[in-house]
């Protein structure tokens, strides 16, 4: 079996294809646009906040399967989470990829990215949508504080 066979599991392909959360919000609390300098991949991420945290997310993601699958996982999971829990999952995902830490238990689908551990140059692909999400949240926080 080749190294890539395990990387491109069906789950990744299905999530990428489903593109959960694709689109734009009519009214976003915050928005971010992030590029991967190395390949030009791009994520535009919007969040709408309510009393307890994220009410809705929407994204437009142009990228490789890993990047698109990651954005799609966000589309499934982000609503209902608050800033602290998003920060935690981004950190946990980084640790999973870089240090072999376990899959964050409340985002079990992230296990599909475990085979990417071996491919350092692809970590950024998985992380990019999560970094975009965190940045979109930070931007809404700033806006909140200033109003």
């Amino acid at each position: 079996m080749s190294a890539s066979d395990s990387l491109y599991q069906d789950a990744i392909k299905q999530f990428a294809k489903a593109d959960h959360g694709h689109g734009q919000l009519a009214q976003a609390s915050g928005e971010s646009k992030l590029d991967n300098r190395l390949c030009g991949d791009r994520v535009r991420m919007q969040v709408a906040l309510g009393g307890d945290g994220i009410v809705a997310v929407a994204h437009e993601t142009k990228g490789c399967l890993l990047c698109r699958a990651a954005a799609s996982v966000i589309g499934v999971h982000a609503a209902g989470k608050n800033q602290a829990s998003i920060d935690a999952v981004v950190q946990a995902l980084e640790a999973m990829l870089k240090d072999g830490a376990p899959v964050p238990h409340d985002w079990p689908e992230l296990s599909m990215f475990e085979p990417a551990r071996a491919h350092v140059s692809r970590h950024k692909c998985v992380l990019l949508p999560f970094q975009a999400l965190r940045e979109a949240l930070q931007k809404s926080a700033v806006t909140d504080a200033s109003t």
């Binding site: 080749s2 392909k13 030009g40 490789c64 491919h119 692809r122």
Partner: protein, 407 residues
């Protein structure tokens, strides 16, 4: 000298130690030839000293080795004199040197003409010059099949064109520039011609005098030499008329607190301790290249490129970038870029890697060209003298796997 790929491959330590590797990324960086590696090692262990300043025997040996390397480059480029060879840290540094030193002799409104097909290294320095002194930066567009559109060359040059700076050979499409046409048009209006030879030099010695150009730039790491070394060739008169770019040791005549005077070229443009061992390694690589049977190597490179193109054409939906499939590819360096709609180049390259194929996907530092061709990224196979049919066969087979795995 044997031009057989197996024999050549054996002379590259990394490839010799990794028989399973199909290295098809030589346009990004070539592997290093053992003569270059040996020369670096030999220099560092027998002749290491700073150059141009010492009188002891070790320093004389270092000086001699460094200046001999200059002569090797001059021979490789058929330059009129070794004094026309400036060592830099790479093609990018060479191009920036011209953009500053020659660029600073230009006036606001003077035109510099580049093309949409340029590598970022021959694009961004001219944008920066434009923003610095207000030159008029004009860009030759590419045709739908990725060639420089030289149809309206004279109009694009206008009357105030001072420099035409073009790639000798595209790092994305492998297309060679029609230098004769460019030189004729440029010299008619008194413009100088710079060629970015980064992708040309790996495919054999060049003759700057026959080309009729004024500046030529390339990098050592792409032509089987060490990294951290590049070359700028310039006509002696032009170099002599240019102010220095970087300031420091070795490039001065005299320094006083109030003002300084400059050394003659090439030293004027080599501020600080130069890349000595790297120049020596490059000299060895170029000497070795000069000894090769190029017609045989070109024939093989062309045959491999042709086989690759034929194989790729059989893949449904695959788009070859910048290859006019209706004409022969006689003026093509063995670089082939392609796009498979729906498959991301990084995913493709990842699957290829699992099959020991080293290819690069992305924008290849040529975003304006890719934008003109209507893609964001592409996958590139670049062939060098150590590649063989096994590499092409493996690539075509693995692409079938990739298409299955990724959809």
């Amino acid at each position: 000298m044997n031009a057989d790929a197996t024999a050549l491959r054996a002379e590259f330590p990394l490839l010799a130690a990794a028989p399973e590797l199909h290295y098809l990324d030589s346009a990004a960086t070539s592997q290093i030839h053992r003569s270059a590696l040996d020369a670096v090692l030999h220099h560092e262990t027998t002749s290491r000293a700073n150059v141009s300043r010492g009188t002891y025997r070790l320093a004389e040996a270092a000086d001699l080795a460094y200046e001999n390397a200059r002569r090797s480059v001059a021979r490789f480029l058929n330059a009129a004199s070794a004094d026309e060879i400036v060592f830099t840290s790479g093609a990018t540094a060479s191009l920036n040197l011209v953009a500053h030193a020659f660029g600073n002799t230009l006036q606001a409104g003077d035109r510099v003409l580049i093309s949409e097909a340029e590598h970022h290294s021959n694009f961004v320095p001219w944008q920066m010059l434009r923003d610095r002194i207000g030159i008029d930066l004009a860009v030759i567009p590419v045709t739908a099949d990725g060639r420089l559109d030289l149809a309206q060359l004279s109009e694009r040059m206008g009357s105030r064109c001072r420099l035409v700076a073009l790639t000798h050979c595209s790092n994305v499409t492998g297309e060679w520039t029609d230098v004769d046409t460019v030189v004729a048009a440029a010299h008619q209006v008194g413009a100088r011609v710079l060629l970015d030879g980064a992708q040309a030099v790996p495919h054999g010695p060049q003759d700057v005098r026959a080309l009729g150009v004024d500046f030529y730039a390339f990098s050592g790491h792409k032509c089987f030499g060490p990294g951290a070394i590049g070359v700028l060739w310039g006509r002696q008169k032009l170099l002599a008329a240019m102010p220095p770019f970087l300031g420091g040791g070795g490039m001065i005549g005299e320094v006083t607190p109030t003002r300084s005077t400059w050394a003659e070229p090439p030293h004027r443009f080599e501020a600080g301790t130069p890349p000595i061992a790297q120049a020596v390694g490059l000299g060895a690589a170029l000497d070795w290249m000069l000894s090769l049977p190029w017609p045989a190597i070109h024939a093989r490179e062309k045959a491999l490129c042709q086989a690759l193109i034929e194989g790729l054409k059989r893949i449904p939906d695959l788009r070859l970038l910048g290859i006019d499939t209706t004409t022969s590819n006689s003026k093509r360096a063995p670089i082939v870029s392609f796009d498979i709609p729906g498959l991301h180049p990084h995913d493709i390259c990842q699957v290829l890697d699992a099959h020991h194929l080293a290819l690069r996907g992305g924008h290849h530092c040529a975003q304006p060209l890719l934008a003109a061709l209507g893609v964001e990224g592409c996958t590139r196979a670049s062939i060098a003298l150590y590649n063989d049919t096994a590499d092409i066969d493996a690539l075509l087979a693995a692409l079938d796997v990739a298409r299955r795995e990724l959809t």
